[in-house]
Subunit: 470 residues, 2 copies
């Protein structure tokens, strides 16, 4: 909260907001440095620095031997003081860059790492719904527990134990509204201002936004087709005592890379040795093309150092938003309390609808078909890219291509050109905690159909050629 | 976030947690005061005070001319250092007292301010569902926007404008997962550690837990059958510049009181004058018995100083968890960004199911029936209480009786006795920001049926007589 800011800047902001709210008006005497230092229980020098900054910025002036006074506001500021705006009340800048990009309208949406609703089993699901309401006639009138429906948690444990060499108890599961909520709850539980966390570079940008809002400092570890630089990871864990390592090791978003099995085992050892939690976000595990991917990092964990996020939103039922958080009981208990404050539990209807579909044979058939459809779309996009000479590593699963453009094509310029052609993509810088990856872009092949991929990619390549030729 | 703690105590806690995590072990040299002051960008005296406290508490010792060293841990602490527990990672104590009470099993649950699922139109809703899925065949495969489904927001605006003298635009509405999420988002947007907020005494305890977790300081204003002490409200607004006044002015939880119209108008004037937002939580407005209650405070507002929370969870479909937040566009925009980080939007299925039911004629019939059923239950509970001589003000709506016990009956003792008799209620202290209201209890008549109310109340009164006679 106020996060990475130095303390004197927080005090400065606080004073400015009290001025803006009209508490201290033009030519009012501000409290003495001693008074404010007492009020906030901080050192007087900190207040002094804040007052110096107020003076520098023309917000306060000094009368010799008397103290600090409020400078008259500009007329613009005076107007501000009488309008209601969240910015008057808060200095926290919540932002979500990705959602800004998604708000730009486009016919060829390569920016959406979502699955085309036409690929989802909508009709079947609708038929299914009535049946589920017959089983639980009072489900609309009933709250879920904050932890989530027990029957659903049991089914998910069963599923995990069938798929992976793990032993799980329903007490070790929390149901959240999508992985987004899981990430937010974990950030609120573990991060306090100035805390270090390890993140991949690049990584899921909305997670970065969430961590930033909690005041985290990022320790970025590059992800490559061969995995992470484990020496870098160990160095960070040893030297900077990060709260956790947030990772998306299987068909990684945005790159599509998968961390090899040998690294997975080693990461758990490091986590134990340095007592650094691993948060394994595994939204794409089931979206493989030819081979089942290597086991989740969670399955190597015996001592509870891995928290596993299994979202089913993307490829089963985005309209239901069901995600499971798996972890050691004590961690899940803390998350449950936080979840009870955050929304008192995800809606029961969604959990019951999901549960019954998830158990059905039809579900498996759907996922099989979906894999094929995604692979075809990926291949079409790659065919269109083949002529460009741009670089990418062909992913073995997931929803995205991570493409490096040649130096002479500016991503910003390409974005401007493409939007005019009704084509959208996501510029790579958004995924970068240090905002430096400025020659890569993410192209999602999951949201638009084959024809649209062909047409949209041609427009995109034309736009790039247009830039190159100028 | 460490919240109300002094800065040097936050530093102290930080160092202790690094010791606990094994980063600094017995007889390790701690960083110099200068180093830590640089690392946190705070004054050296603050670090010095933290180190002094470590010494006092036996966590560090001093070597002359060398510095501070870690004291050997007790064996108990050593064990702690090797178990995974959220408490190792965080000092924030998230808690939810109400949910603890609800976890105590009881046949006669007077602790639940929820509506008996048998009073909700479950069968009708189930039939309805299939129809809604026919209208939106792809609803399971589609995400909602973070703000909420536009069609639902339009319908809710329409409804509000039919019911009340207000003018509303769908842009001024945000859909959340129940009022609980709305309260949490507002707390995250507006409260930073040490901020003052006005709260009613008593008030909804889970809101207090949310505000506490954000580090708020409470300015409590008593609520009585005549309303608030407006001089007290004005005094707080003038002297302590609270971020907002969180209120539940209609069939207030837990007391059932309603703030009179004259005070409503005046509260908006005060809000404007002192630029203090009013957060009007209005979950029980439609749960009146004989007369439609006075207009919401929101309807007196012209300049955007009131944020209105309209939850439909309680009396329509708890399994769907639909709540609307109404407010000035700029505030709603900030909330949308925060909502996009928190869970990227409430599930679409719930919004569409709710929307169609809400528009139906059947909905109005349901609410009429529900009012009658609740009134009957309230009257039965009051009949059982009549013989006791205990004090309460008969509410004209809502779900609860707020009962003052005579001095000779200890609430704690009554709770112990009642739980043995499988009767639960909520002790009044839980609703009190200052934890002093220790002779009142909340009895909800909404969750158990008529027969259970009679039986349970007899057990409760017997338990009280038993205490009195000892």
């Amino acid at each position: 909260m106020g996060a990475n800011k130095q303390l004197f800047i927080q005090i400065y902001d606080h004073i400015v907001s009290r001025m803006q709210r009209g508490e201290w008006q033009a030519h009012d005497k501000l409290p003495s440095i001693r008074q404010l230092a007492n009020e906030f229980q901080i050192h007087r020098l900190t207040v002094f620095r804040a007052y110096q900054l107020l003076k520098q910025n023309g917000k306060a002036y000094v009368k010799e031997k008397s103290g600090y006074y409020v400078s008259p506001l500009s007329s613009e500021q005076q107007n501000d003081a009488f309008t209601v705006d969240a910015s008057i009340f808060t200095h926290i800048h919540f932002k979500n860059d990705m959602s800004k990009i998604h708000r730009v309208p486009a016919t060829y949406q390569f920016s959406q790492a979502l699955i085309d609703p036409n690929l989802l089993p909508n009709l079947f699901l609708s038929d299914y719904v009535k049946k589920v309401f017959d089983i639980y006639p009072k489900m609309m009138g009933t709250y879920s527990s904050a932890q989530g429906d027990l029957e659903l948690r049991e089914v998910l444990c069963q599923y995990m134990m069938e798929q992976h060499p793990v032993d799980l108890d329903p007490d070790e599961v929390l149901i959240t509204t999508g992985a987004q909520q899981a990430i937010d709850l974990l950030a609120r539980l573990f991060i306090r201002p100035l805390d270090n966390i390890i993140v991949e570079r690049p990584t899921y940008s909305v997670a970065l936004d969430v961590f930033r809002a909690q005041g985290a400092r990022f320790l970025p570890v590059d992800i490559t087709p061969d995995g992470y630089d484990l020496q870098q990871v160990e160095h960070f864990m040893r030297e900077s005592r990060p709260r956790f390592f947030y990772m998306n090791p299987t068909f990684h978003n945005p790159t599509g890379y998968t961390i090899p099995a040998a690294q997975r085992k080693r990461l758990v050892e490091l986590a134990e040795q340095y007592q650094c939690l691993l948060i394994e976000d595994d939204a794409f595990h089931d979206m493989y093309f030819n081979e089942i991917p290597t086991q989740p990092i969670f399955t190597y964990d015996t001592d509870g150092w891995v928290i596993y996020l299994k979202s089913f939103s993307k490829y089963i039922a985005p309209g239901l938003r069901v995600c499971a958080v798996l972890g050691r009981r004590s961690l899940i208990d803390s998350l449950i309390t936080l979840k009870s404050l955050a929304d008192n539990g995800s809606p029961l209807v969604n959990q019951k609808l999901f549960l019954h579909y998830f158990k059905s044979e039809r579900m498996q058939q759907h996922v099989d078909k979906l894999r094929t459809a995604l692979q075809i779309r990926k291949e079409i996009m790659e065919q269109e890219l083949a002529q460009t000479g741009w670089e990418w590593v062909s992913p073995q699963g997931g929803l995205n291509l991570w493409v490096k453009l040649p130096a002479e094509i500016s991503v910003t310029e390409l974005w401007d050109q493409c939007i005019r052609q009704s084509v959208s993509f996501v510029p790579g810088t958004i995924f970068d905690p240090s905002r430096e990856l400025n020659s890569s872009i993410r192209l999602s092949y999951s949201f638009v159909n084959e024809t649209q991929i062909k047409q949209g990619m041609r427009r995109l390549v034309d736009a790039a050629n247009h830039i190159r030729s100028h």
